[in-house]
């Protein structure tokens, strides 16, 4: 036994140098590779900031575009368009998505539940341009005009799988006896889902929604067939003309949703291809704005979660 103890102790000592050097080497290697993985991110951010930052001005955010070839102007139309389309898409996607996720997690083995899971997975892999075609066939063709509405529907389809999947995952994390606790008090299933399970899973659900919003805000292809793009889109103009003509608020909103609109990614794509250097510069500026928006959304999402966590911890 003493021999074995000695063997062990010797082994520990002898290996010490080897262990230390291996440690340092591995640490260095993983560190270096991590930095390598971060390079693309910082490169993109850096370059966009460099090219786009110099072209940022107030006019970009407040003015409508000037005619082609004329310098100056802004992308207010695209900003308004992006916001409106995203709001529409979120509205269309969140409620069905969350409900579907609740159904799928409660009834995983029914035909509908299985079909739902399968379709979600498939849908997330469908090329976004085909989703755009779907929107075209569903809304644009029958309505005979391009609209923000159609764009919203198309983007909603893109947002749906992420929302469903994230919500389902979050529901799985809710401990099962939380549901039992509510049922044991005599609550019906639906009330349990709404009053207990949803609040418990809310953090994750919101994250899922925010992440899918961030994705949808950057989509271009689906919007090609649904919103087309609209240099003259101006919420302000629509609203004021509506007021002048004594239109109801619903009519005004209807006009907004029904008009073809532009969006930031679409504008970026168009401007980047134009021969005019001012437009190209503006494209870089738009890229900068988009990047900031996406980063901001992610940061807000994470801060929100942290705050909620702190609140729970009391």
């Amino acid at each position: 036994m003493t021999d074995y103890n000695e063997l062990l102790r010797n082994g520990v000592v002898k290996r010490r140098l080897l262990r230390k050097s291996t440690n340092v080497f591995m640490l260095g290697l993983t560190g270096a590779l991590t930095l390598l993985a971060l390079v693309p991110l910082f490169w993109i951010i850096g370059y966009v900031v460099y090219r786009g930052g110099s072209n940022i001005n107030i006019a970009l955010f407040t003015q409508m575009p000037r005619p082609m070839g004329v310098a100056g102007g802004g992308v207010l139309h695209a900003i308004e368009g992006s916001i409106i389309v995203t709001i529409l898409a979120t509205t269309f996607a969140v409620v069905p998505g969350v409900l579907a996720a609740f159904y799928a997690s409660r009834n995983p083995n029914t035909p509908l539940g299985v079909a739902l899971r399968f379709s979600t997975d498939v849908l997330s892999g469908v090329p976004s341009i085909i989703v755009g075609l779907f929107g075209y066939a569903l809304i644009v063709k029958p309505e005979k005009h391009y609209s923000a509405l159609a764009g919203g529907v198309a983007l909603a389809v893109i947002m749906l799988p992420t929302i469903i999947r994230t919500t389902e995952e979050m529901l799985k994390l809710v401990p099962s006896n939380l549901r039992e606790g509510s049922l044991a008090l005599g609550a019906p299933e639906w009330k349990t889902s709404v009053s207990v399970l949803l609040p418990a899973a809310l953090n994750g659900v919101i994250t899922g929604v925010l992440l899918s919003v961030a994705r949808a805000a950057g989509e271009t292809a689906p919007l090609l067939f649904t919103t087309l793009g609209n240099d003259r889109f101006d919420v302000g103009a629509i609203v004021s003309s509506g007021i002048t003509n004594h239109q109801s608020i619903f009519a005004i909103i209807g006009r907004i949703f029904n008009s073809p609109i532009d969006s930031l990614p679409l504008t970026l794509w168009k401007y980047a291809q134009q021969p005019y250097p001012e437009r190209v510069n503006q494209a870089w500026a738009v890229a900068f704005v988009l990047l900031v928006l996406v980063l901001a959304t992610n940061i807000i999402a994470r801060v929100w979660i942290e705050l909620r966590k702190r609140k729970l911890r009391g």
Binding site: P175, N177, L178, E180, G181, S182, L183, A184, L185, G186, A187, P188, K191, S195, V196, P199, A200, K311, L312, R313, G314
Partner: protein
């Protein structure tokens, strides 16, 4: 009324007034699909007494407990034979409202499960289910329930804080308060202290004694000393050769732990197997 309990003459049962049977299991068997989890369980639970169900792991204690408030209904393949009567009415009968059964027979779980809401909203959840929304009434119910759960002094200044910010023992008492808020008649406890530290465990046990003055309590526990400390009656369960749970002996706690009649009970309580 016949009682299915053997009472020896020189036993010190508390005889305060009439003995009323609150809950009764009558030839109860529970199936999960084809598997028979419980076979022919017969027991009469006395009102305002603490009845413990003990036995080795997997003997069906929790299944039996969950039959009392129809929580087994949540398992799709579960079905029962026999009856369970609350105040002489079969709770599995045709015209029975499950929601009302679950209100009258409350449950406290092994791991504390407060809702992600404030302490106040946790306790008010039950009453709100039943349409009670006036602030004054709710305030009163919340305060009374939390007091009954021996938690008031610790939380009275922070009712708005999240229920999940409390310690384990406090969370469990919060769950008890939550169950009390709907004015149940019976409280089922499934190993209520097994996830808690020893001091919290003892507090919960003291609480049980206080609660038993007003409520009928049925507790499942794998801790024999706890069953001995806390209960008035003890039921011993075991699985038979078909892996189905049966009731081996059911008697006053004093007898079960000093001179049980069945050798299997003796072997179990003396720690010779299990």
């Amino acid at each position: 009324m016949e009682m299915n309990i053997a009472i020896k003459e020189n036993d010190n049962l508390k005889m305060d007034g009439d003995i009323r049977i609150k809950v009764k299991a009558h030839h109860l068997s529970v199936y999960y699909g084809k598997f028979r989890a419980l076979t022919d369980i017969n027991m009469e639970i006395q009102e305002r007494k603490i009845t413990a169900i003990i036995g080795p792991s997997g003997c069906g204690k929790s299944t039996l407990l969950r039959s009392f408030n129809r929580m087994n209904d949540l398992t799709p393949s579960a079905r029962i034979e026999g009856e369970i009567e609350l105040d002489e009415e079969d709770i599995y009968g045709n015209n029975v409202d499950v929601v009302d059964v679950r209100r009258r027979i409350g449950m406290v779980f092994q791991r504390p499960n407060p809702f992600p809401k404030s302490i106040y909203d946790n306790v008010a959840y039950g009453p709100r289910l039943y349409g009670i929304h006036q602030r004054g009434v709710l305030d009163g119910i919340v305060e009374s329930s939390i007091k009954q759960a021996a938690l008031w002094d610790e939380v009275k200044d922070k009712l708005h804080q999240s229920g999940m910010s409390l310690s384990g023992g406090q969370q469990q008492r919060l769950c008890i308060a939550r169950a009390l808020a709907v004015q149940p008649e019976v409280i089922l406890m499934d190993e209520p202290a097994s996830a808690l530290d020893p001091i919290s465990t003892l507090r919960i046990e003291e609480l049980m004694h206080d609660l038993a003055k007003n409520y009928t309590i049925i507790i499942v526990t794998h801790n024999m000393q706890q069953a001995a400390r806390v209960s008035d009656f003890t039921a011993m369960m075991m699985i038979d050769e078909t892996r189905s749970g049966r009731m081996i002996e059911y008697n006053s706690t004093n007898i079960i732990f000093t001179r049980p009649e069945d050798k299997r009970t003796e072997d179990y309580v003396t720690g010779r197997f299990g």
